[in-house]
Each structure stands twice: as structure tokens, then as C-alpha cells.
């Protein structure tokens, strides 16, 4: 009897949780739904009171119109190039650095590693102005270099993640190769990195998203329109527009958002893994 009650209560709790999740997820979807719905609205259905949830008919021309309004395709291409270049740098540098912090035993290693982690606390604003001054002096303003080059020198978050992953690979594997006369370089490229594929995929994804979404970097360094990434092009277009263009603005926003959504859906497993890889578990 009491057992039966227990199961019933468990079912009830579960149903309650499910109902709550349903309501919450509806409110989480609402902004994206509203974005897509507006991006398909004919101009005469844009400013209705009460608003229309689903436009009828659907106006797909807002997308080509947005592309005419601003060179959004060029912005998207710029974002893509910047992100890919940064991803390459992140993969290269963080692999090497994490290897040095995990697969080689050397005095002082763990002390320096604490220093690596401590840089996570540094607000960007502290380094923002001197970096701008330095990059101006070497002529990097109005180029993508300030947005790409720092990725080639490692990031504490990625170093930490890859190091955790590499520490989990048995030491004996390295010893065997060393006895056979293999160098550390061969060890890294032939044995360790192939085993780190899931962690490397996570690094690539997060770096891609950071670069794609970065706003303050392009805002500071770029003033030529042909160099703008999507984030900057979209923001400056928005701040110069009135309300009548909202369906075009939403079409442009959708174009900025969709690449990330597509990547996310294809690589969901990697994302979820990335969070547990960081070793952030109790």
C-alpha cells in the first residue's frame, strides 16, 4: 500500500516537473519564434495591435531585401573567415600547451598552471586599452589580426579542458613510445592528439562560437565596412534604423543566428561532453 503510494507520488512529481518544463521551454522559445515569425511578415502585418502570431501569407522576400539593404552575405563570409582562422590557432596552440602541462613531468609545472587559471579572473577592460594602443602602433587597426592572432597563444579555458583530458590517458602509453625512441613530437601528433578528438572538437566549437559572436573586438578595431563581421554589421545597421524595418532586421538576425543553431544540432553531443570535460563536476 505505502509502496504503491510512493510510486504514485513519484509519477505525480514527474508529471509536475514535465508540465513546468513545458511552460518554461515555451517562454524560452518565444523570442526565437517571434524573430522568425517577424522575419516572414509582409509590411502591412508588421505593426498590428494585437500582433499576429503567424503571418499570412509568408513574405520570404524579406531575406533578399535584407541582403540588398546591407552586404550581409559579405559580413557572414567575414565572420566565417575570422572564426575559422581563430579555430585553427586555438587547436594548434592549446594542443601544444596542454601537452606541456600534462604529459611531461617537470618541476614547477603545476605552479605555472595555477597562474594560467588565474588569468581567467582578469577583466577584458584592464587589457583592452593597452592592447588597442599596441595594435595601433604596429598597424593592426582595421585588420582582422587583433581578432585572430591572440587565439594562437592559448586560452586558459581550453588549456584546462585539454589538460584534464590528456591527464586521463594512461602514462604507460607514453613510456612505451619513449622506450622505442619516439620523440615527444611524434607522441603528441601520432598518439595523444588522435585520442583527444572529442576534446579538440569541443575546443573548435567553442572558439568558433566565441569568434562568431564577438562584438567588442570588431567594434574597437574595425572601421571599414568591407571588413565587418556579422555582429558588427548587424549592430550598426540596427542602431541606424527606425521601427519600420523590423521584419528586415529580424531576417538579418535570423541569418546571424541560424549558422550557430545548425552547428549546435549537428554537434550537440560534443557540446554536452565539453561541459563535463571541463571537470566541473562536484
Amino acid at each position: 500500500m505505502s509502496l504503491n503510494l510512493g510510486i504514485k507520488r513519484a509519477n505525480l512529481n514527474n508529471a509536475l516537473a514535465f508540465a513546468l518544463l513545458l511552460a518554461l521551454s515555451a517562454s524560452f522559445i518565444l523570442p526565437l519564434f517571434w524573430m522568425i515569425s517577424t522575419s516572414l511578415k509582409p509590411i502591412d502585418q508588421l505593426l498590428l495591435d494585437p500582433p499576429k502570431w503567424v503571418p499570412n501569407p509568408l513574405e520570404f522576400d524579406n531575406y533578399p531585401n535584407a541582403l540588398e539593404e546591407q552586404p550581409f552575405l559579405q559580413y557572414l563570409g567575414n565572420s566565417l573567415q575570422i572564426a575559422v582562422a581563430a579555430v585553427l590557432g586555438a587547436l594548434l596552440s592549446n594542443s601544444l600547451i596542454a601537452y606541456g602541462f600534462s604529459r611531461i613531468d617537470w618541476k614547477g609545472r603545476d605552479v605555472i598552471f595555477v597562474l594560467v587559471l588565474s588569468t581567467l579572473m582578469l577583466p577584458y577592460h584592464v587589457v583592452m586599452i593597452p592592447l588597442f594602443v599596441s595594435f595601433s602602433k604596429i598597424g593592426w587597426v582595421n585588420t582582422w589580426l587583433p581578432l585572430i592572432v591572440p587565439a594562437y597563444f592559448g586560452h586558459p579555458f581550453f588549456i584546462f579542458m585539454l589538460r584534464q583530458f590528456m591527464l586521463g590517458i594512461p602514462k604507460e602509453l607514453s613510456e612505451a613510445t619513449r622506450i622505442d625512441g619516439g620523440s615527444e613530437w611524434i607522441l603528441l601528433t601520432r598518439i595523444i592528439l588522435p585520442l583527444c578528438k572529442p576534446a579538440l572538437a569541443t575546443v573548435a566549437l567553442f572558439q568558433f562560437i566565441w569568434s562568431w559572436n564577438d562584438f567588442i573586438g570588431p567594434l574597437i578595431y574595425l572601421n571599414e565596412r568591407s571588413l565587418y563581421p556579422m555582429s558588427l554589421g548587424l549592430a550598426l545597421y540596427h542602431n541606424s534604423q527606425g521601427i519600420t524595418d523590423f521584419s528586415i532586421l529580424m531576417a538579418a538576425s535570423t541569418m546571424a543566428v541560424v549558422p550557430i543553431i545548425i552547428i549546435f544540432f549537428f554537434m550537440q553531443g560534443v557540446f554536452i561532453q565539453g561541459i563535463s570535460l571541463t571537470g566541473l563536476k562536484g
Partner: protein, 308 residues
Amino acid sequence: MSAVKKPPQPLLSPRNRRELRKIALGLLFISPWIIGFLAFNVYPIGASFYYSLTRYSPISSPRFIGLLNYERLLFFDPLFITALKNTLYFVVFAVPLGNALALALAVLLNQKVRGLALFRTIFYLPSILPLVATSIVWTWLLHPQYGIVSAIMAELGLPIISWFADPAWAKPALILMSMWGTGWMMLIYLAALQDVPQELYDVASLDGASLWRKFRHVTVPMISPIILFNTIVGLIGAFQYFTEAYVITEGGPGDSTLFYSLYLFNNAFAYFKMGYASAMAWLLFLVILVLTFLIFRSSAKRVYYHGG
């Protein structure tokens, strides 16, 4: 026996030589980080402190003025005080609310409900979307006249709020939007919850503990290091809150969303007061360091690290 001569001692024993070789090898592998650390952290930190003691616009070289920038900021700049207050308001509400929502979502998802993967995606996705795009979406979402939120509120008989156009509501609107982006925190909580041993809950059930008591006395202590981590990371992020305010409100209406980093950015890149902005950056750095330290210290007794 004593006749046996000791071999001449080499400068470095083979063991020491191996040690040194390993250190050199380790440093070689981490050398990209060392270069980056010096170029993108150490030098800029030093330079920004020096700039903070100068009057400096990009067209002239820095001129040393001692602590004048700090003095002016703290005692003679009402906008600085406004920006500080706005930021504290944001931090005080957005960090705990975002944390609580993330934890609540994680606990709900951990009930082995159907459709877990789909729900997880829906909650996580907003936190990785480009902020510029989502900011523009929210200005339209919360548009007082034509936005869908106003329509829903009117339907429910609630008063119409002007959100981003109303000095009293602009900050709450931004806080609401920041809660929408709490999915990454939820994911971290979910990973932590899945690591709490089931036996602990079973034992608590045998003792007749209610759901709330289980949450309060099993879940919370077991994941307390993660709560601490998310609080600190959230805090550091919230103090640097910038993009949404820049895109949506540009500091308005009536400076109600002039946040610290927005005012700092304006000083540096709109008014070209690089020295003044550097002093702001250093004050921010100090505030973050002190707060992090205080949170660590006050939580030391309440955070439970199981398994060391």
C-alpha cells in the same frame, strides 16, 4: 676502502641533467602560452596601470598626473557613480536570479522526464547565440506597442510596460534577458547533479525526508562547489556586461542603463580619455578581486568538497 677514489663529480649529475632537460621540454611546449601571457596579460596590466596615472588621448603621449583620475572618478564624476550603481543593481539581481533559474531547470531536467534532450537544447541554445542578434530580437520582443510580450500581458489583463523605454523598467528588462541566457550554467549544474550518488537520496527517503529537505540537505551540499563556481563566473561576467546595453539602449533612457563597462568604453573610444578609462578598468579589477576573495572566504565553511 678509503683508498678508492671518488670519480670526479660532473657539474650536473645525470639525474639533474634529465630534470633540466624535462623542464626545458615542458617550457618549450607551453612557450606559446608564455609569450601570450607576457604580451596579452602582463604587459597590458602594467601599461594600463601606468596609463591610469596619466592624462592620455591617442593623439598625445601620456602625461603623468598621479592619482588625479582616481580622485576625479570617486569624488567628482556623477556619471561614474550612476554607472557603478546601475552595475551593482544588475549584478545583485541578475547573478542570483540567473543562478537560481539555472539550478531549478537542472533539477527539473534531472527528474528523468521524457524529452530530456529536447528540453536541454531549448534551454541551452539561447546562451550560445550571437548577443547582437538576440539583443535586436529582444528590443522587438519587448516593444511596448507591437511586441508579443505586450500582447500576452494585455491578454492576461496586466498593465502595459514600456520596458527598454522606461528608466524604471529598462534594467529589469535586461535582467530578464540575461536570465534567458542562463543555459550554460544549467548545463554545468546538470552535470553536477548527475554525479550526486543516488544512495544519499535513498537513505534520505528511508528517513522520510520531503523533496525540499532532500534538495536542501543532500543536493545543495553535494553541489556547493559548483554553486560557488557559477556564482563567481557569473559575477565576473556581470560586472563586464556590455553588448546588450550597447545595442539595445545605448545607456538610456536617462542613463538608466549606463553600465560600468559602457561608460568605460565611451571614455576610451568616444571621448578618447584613455587614462581616465584605464583608471576605471583598474577600479573594476579591484572590485572583482575583493568580491571574489570575500565570497571565497565566507563560503569556505559552507562549501563541501567530497573526495578531496
